[in-house]
């Protein structure tokens, strides 16, 4: 492989820096390992670089400066709810009594941690109309998996093992069918109607004695409210199936209406979306799993139980599907989520989703002035625009618009999802953004669409202000280079 033509902007890898013996001393020198263990169980070499703290600080500071977070700028990434992550949450999560508590600490010495989990769980139950939540799952996808394992066990207990189908609308997140497959369920994909909704008549046509679960999100990934959700739930329930609510979009309705009241039996939340947990560049997430009364016994272990004014972890739950994680919860995130609940209270949370919907609709009508919006009606917390028409006229695609936004200091919306909208841009502003920010973004987007008509090449070349230009993904996949190796 030849050397890159110009690599001046490349940041060296940590492995290319440092000198052996240069590390900053955090602990005293240990004795040779052979003085403790037989040589045959020890490794020969440990080929890691030694760098000073200053080198390491500069290296990762430099990498942070090549990374875009909410703290840097507007992040309208649809279905990801990139709202402000309050700094007080992090301060509280790092309190010594939380951060240094060992998971095997006896319950009566962990009452604070258990209280956090209990208060959070009770608040979620009320907010979403569920009987109980498990805080065990690490992320939304894992909660989906746990929910489907619950469904599988529930039907097994009822002698209904023939229920092996999971119904998933075509607008669903990709995790839904993937989770279903991990439980041995077969996926039935359901086409959305012309209004972008699930048609209850269609549901009646596909449900039957083999229906296990229908997985939906409401509002759906087009940002549209499934107002006939009751009819859909009735059809599934009459067929003996369960309703699952994918809570990725809970920011649209929190405090105003509840999945439990819509007829959902199971649901998850992504607290790293709705409840301001920082997403951290792809996790850690936190995926509380809620269930209606008839499924409480099946929740993953452990479950936090309150006895009077004391709390304990309950592992002795014979019908449970078992744990899905090494330990009890992504606890530091439970602290953050609870802090966020305290910062808002019921009334504040209700306002949160109202303002999220307000911001999304405001942007939708502004953007509709110059870009196609395939579902021109009141949306919820997010909406989709399409560059289909623009592409026909100018050759500029959704991808090019996205890259042009990067050049102008914005994160791009979610692209090419949901799959049913061609050249899709899925935009979710969240409630923490001001009108000025939204106006600024709309103006920039308007300018980009104008540029598409006058100078499309500029957009096809974008981005040019970023540390690298468009990345060769084909080469990355054809010649996978997944790690550094020492050159010999």
């Amino acid at each position: 492989m030849s050397a890159p033509v110009s690599d001046r902007t490349a940041s060296p890898l940590i492995f290319e820096l440092g000198q052996e013996g240069r590390a900053t001393r955090y602990v005293e020198h240990g004795k040779p390992l052979q003085s403790f263990m037989p040589a045959n169980v020890l490794r020969d070499d440990l080929p890691l670089p030694d760098n000073t703290e200053l080198d390491v600080v500069r290296h990762y500071t430099s990498l942070s400066q090549r990374t875009f977070g909410i703290d840097v700028g507007f992040y309208p990434l649809g279905s990801c709810t990139m709202k402000h992550n309050p700094k007080v949450n992090d301060a509280l999560a790092s309190l010594r009594e939380f951060a240094e508590l060992h998971p095997f600490t006896p319950d009566d010495l962990s009452q604070g941690a258990l209280q956090v989990m209990h208060e959070l769980e009770r608040s979620f139950c009320s907010l979403f109309g569920m009987a109980a939540f498990s805080l065990n799952p690490a992320a939304g996808a894992q909660a989906e998996l746990a929910a489907l394992l619950i469904a599988k066990k529930y039907f097994r207990d009822r002698g209904e093992t023939q229920r092996d189908k999971v119904i998933v609308p075509d607008t669903a997140h990709g995790t839904n069918p993937a989770s279903a497959a991990m439980c041995g369920f077969k996926v039935i994909s359901l086409k959305s109607d012309a209004r972008g909704r699930v048609d209850p008549v269609e549901i009646r046509n596909v449900v039957g004695p083999d229906t296990a679960v229908c997985m939906m999100t409401n509002p759906n990934t087009l940002g549209l409210f499934e107002e006939r959700i009751h009819e859909i739930a009735d059809a599934v329930h009459e067929a003996g199936g369960l309703m699952y609510y994918d809570g990725a979009n809970a920011n649209a309705l929190m405090g105003n209406t509840r999945p439990g009241d819509m007829g959902f039996d199971l649901m998850h939340l992504n607290t790293h979306k709705t409840f301001t947990i920082p997403h951290g560049g792809g996790g850690a997430g936190h995926g509380p799993l809620g269930v209606a009364a008839h499924l409480v016994e099946y929740l993953p272990t452990p479950y936090v139980v309150r006895d009077g004014d004391r709390f304990r972890l309950d592992f002795d739950r014979p019908k449970s599907i078992g744990p899905v994680r090494s330990f009890w919860s992504n606890f530091a995130h439970a602290v953050r989520a609870l802090a966020y609940l305290y910062a808002n209270g019921a009334e504040g949370l209700t306002k949160v989703s109202q303002y999220a919907v307000l911001n999304a609709n405001y942007m939708r009508v502004k953007i509709a002035e110059f870009l196609e919006t395939p579902y021109p009606e009141i949306c919820r917390h997010e909406f989709v625009a399409s560059a289909q028409q623009l592409k026909k006229e100018t050759g500029v695609r959704a991808l090019d618009i996205a890259k042009a936004l990067l050049d102008r200091g914005y994160m791009a919306p979610t692209m090419y999802f949901p799959l049913i909208v061609p050249e899709c841009l899925m935009i979710e502003p969240t409630e923490t953004e001001s009108k000025e920010t939204l106006d600024g973004f709309v103006d920039v987007l308007r300018d980009i669409v104008q540029t598409a008509k006058t100078n499309p090449q500029e957009l096809l070349d974008a981005p040019v202000t970023t540390v690298v230009g468009r990345v060769d993904e084909t080469r990355a996949a054809r010649q996978p280079d997944l790690r550094w190796r020492a050159s010999r």
Partner: protein
């Protein structure tokens, strides 16, 4: 581009039959719509495959497409060169980019396939 001397499936695979041997690949139209192909997952040699059954997967950067055999038979050989050079499927779908060679089970199955002309109609429709 459709090759006149081949037979086709509606799922955009082609088959070239020579005696009791069949060579299978994906069409130019298929490679074009998938974009840059980065990986091809093929069956093991010796495996018996049924007409229109799933025998593997073709991956591009952002899409995955099932591979169906246009005809039944036993897998004699797979194109191992594609491991190192999956781009051959894009470059030369009817030549170097072939996928699987089969020992034919039932030559009469060809009646279920499309002629070059009919396939051309399908993709230009």
């Amino acid at each position: 581009m459709v090759q006149p001397d081949l037979l086709y499936s509606k799922e955009h695979e082609w088959v070239r039959i020579e005696g009791d041997r069949a060579t299978i690949g994906i069409t130019d139209y298929a490679q074009e719509s998938l974009g840059d192909i980065v990986y091809v997952e093929l069956p093991k040699t010796g495996k018996a495959v049924e007409q229109f059954g799933n025998i593997g997967v073709v991956e591009s950067v952002k899409a995955v497409s099932d591979l169906f055999t246009p005809i039944s038979g036993e897998v004699l050989e797979v194109n191992a060169a594609l491991d190192a050079d999956p781009a051959a499927v894009n470059r030369d779908p009817y030549g170097d980019g072939w996928l699987v060679k089969l020992k034919l089970k039932d030559a009469s199955e060809t009646k279920n396939l499309l002629s070059a002309r009919d396939y051309e109609k399908l993709v230009t429709a």
